[in-house]
Symmetry: C2
Subunit: 141 residues, 2 copies
């Protein structure tokens, strides 16, 4: 289902601003972007786009299941288009590069939680940090 239908089906309006923001997310699948970054890129698609609208659109997309919030270190939120494929991220502490990590052991963890606690786990976030191949190589020199 495309953006227009998805918005209409939930009673929201389809606007060029939202199209621009969503386009940026789609174009950067797998690369978490901050609202500031999204705004800068989306302005190339809709030049008068306001930063406030960017923030609002990103949150709306998350509520609609079209995007997901990514929690990394740092003082900004990050967003990504929701592809339906669960994954995590590895962030290079040196250059900031982000690599997708498809492996996730949450199910095993959930089982352990069920054994040891009555806590019901519904969400999780995880990120790995370290050094990307590029930065590792350049360090050797």
């Amino acid at each position: 289902m495309n953006l227009e239908k998805r918005l209409h089906s939930r009673g929201y309006r389809y606007t060029p601003q939202r199209e621009a923001v969503f386009g940026v997310l789609k174009e950067n699948e797998g690369k978490p972007l901050s609202p500031e970054e999204v705004h800068e890129l989306a302005c190339k698609r809709f030049s008068s786009l306001g930063l406030t609208t960017t923030y609002r659109s990103l949150e709306l997309f998350c509520d609609l299941g079209l995007a997901t919030r990514v929690h990394l270190h740092g003082d900004s939120h990050y967003y990504e288009v929701n592809t339906g494929k669960h994954h995590h991220h590895m962030v290079c502490l040196s250059c900031g590069a982000i690599e997708i990590l498809e492996a996730c052991l949450i199910e095993e963890l959930k089982e352990r939680v069920r054994d040891g606690s009555d806590f019901l786990v519904t969400e999780h976030c995880m990120s790995l940090f370290g050094y990307c191949p590029g930065c590792l190589t350049s360090r050797k020199g």
Copy 2:
């Protein structure tokens, strides 16, 4: 090693403000606190403690390995005394209660990373979210 020795061994001064902040962390082992919360509690030990000093002390303790930063959802940082025991947290989305999760599958994940990528993982953060036993029970009613 106590706080005084730890500070002196790295060339830092031992002050009642730092003692107060550290005391609060120790007293709340396993419970991540925001700088604001730490400040409020630490003021009972040293009433004229400034919020700025609280922030600075917490960061210093992290650098010294005496405390760790905890990344939860939400717009604040959280800190915890470093007990040397690696663990994670489960946060109740309803009441905010935090339960310690000792299980961690990072080693298994690291292995998978080694197989599929040249990324070197040195740190990770993970939190689980859901509902605590208390909130689950009260929902049934």
